[in-house]
Amino acid sequence: MAAGHPPASSRMAGSSRRRPGPGRLHFEIPTDCRESRKAQFRVLNELVRRGYSNDSLFAIRLAMEEALVNAMKHGNHFDPAKKIIIDARIGPRSARIAVEDQGAGFDRRHVGDPTRAINLCKLHGRGIFLIKAYMDQARWTQGGRRVTMTKANA
C-alpha cells in the first residue's frame, strides 16, 4: 500500500512555525511522492473525521492527487530542492485546499479539452480537467503556480 499511516512523530516542515486553527492543515514539503502521500493522508483523515460524504471524499482525493502530481511533475520538475505548499481549510460544510509549487507556472488557455475526439487517445492532459470536473470551484493564481480548490460536503 502506497500510503500508510504516517509515524506519530512525523511532522511536516513548517507546521511548527504556524499554529493551524481547527480544521486547518498547512504543509510545506519537498518535491517527494512519499511526503505528498503523507500530506494527502492527513487531509483525508481530517475530512473523514469531520464526516465528509464518500462522494466528497472521492472528489477531493482525486483532485488533490492531480494537483500534487501536477505540482511535482510539471511545476517543480521533480526537483527535490523545490517545495510544495499545501494549505487545507476544512469546515463543517466545505473544504478549501490550495496547492502551490515553485515552478514557472503555466497558461491554462494552452491546456486543451481532453474529451474532444481528437484528444481521446492522448496519454496526458486530464489532470486539470478532472480537478475542474470534481471540485465545485478551482482557481489558478500566481501565474498557474497555485491552485485553490473548493468542495462542499454534500
Binding site: R37, N54, F58, L62, E65, K73, C121, L130
Partner: protein, 118 residues
C-alpha cells in the same frame, strides 16, 4: 494457474488473459508505470491478444492511470487484439464517463459479459 505479482493477478481463461488489479488504488506514478510495463510485457509478441482487465478491487485511480490504460489500449489495437474493462465500481465508472473514455474503451459490467464479448 494464476500468477500473482504485488500489483496484478494474471490468469488465463481460454485464450483470454485476465488481469485483476490487486491494489485498491492505482495512483502512484511508479506503481502505474510498473503496472503499464507488466501489461506491455504480457502483450509483447502476441498476435491478436485478448485482454480483460478486472477492476473489482479498484476504488481510486488518477489521470496517470487513465494514461497508462490508453497506452495499453493503443498497443492492443496495434497488435489487432481486443481489450475489455470489467467490474468497474460506479465512482470509477463515472471517471471514465466524465473523461469520455467510455467511448474509447469497451467497458463491460461483469467479467462474464466481457468474456462473452470477445
Amino acid at each position: 494457474m494464476a500468477e500473482a505479482t504485488p500489483r496484478l493477478r494474471i490468469s488465463r481463461e481460454k485464450d483470454v488473459h485476465v488481469v485483476e488489479f490487486v491494489q485498491n488504488r492505482i495512483l502512484d506514478e511508479l506503481n502505474i508505470s510498473e503496472i503499464g510495463l507488466e501489461l506491455t510485457n504480457l502483450l509483447a509478441g502476441r498476435d491478436r491478444p485478448r485482454l480483460l482487465l478486472d477492476f473489482s478491487a479498484v476504488d481510486h485511480l488518477s489521470s496517470a492511470a487513465l494514461g497508462m490504460l490508453i497506452n495499453v489500449n493503443n498497443k492492443v489495437r496495434e497488435q489487432n487484439g481486443q481489450l475489455r474493462l470489467a467490474q468497474i465500481k460506479p465512482p470509477i465508472l463515472e471517471v471514465f464517463q466524465i473523461t469520455k473514455l467510455n467511448r474509447l474503451f469497451r467497458i463491460c459490467a461483469t467479467r462474464a459479459e466481457a468474456m462473452a464479448s470477445f
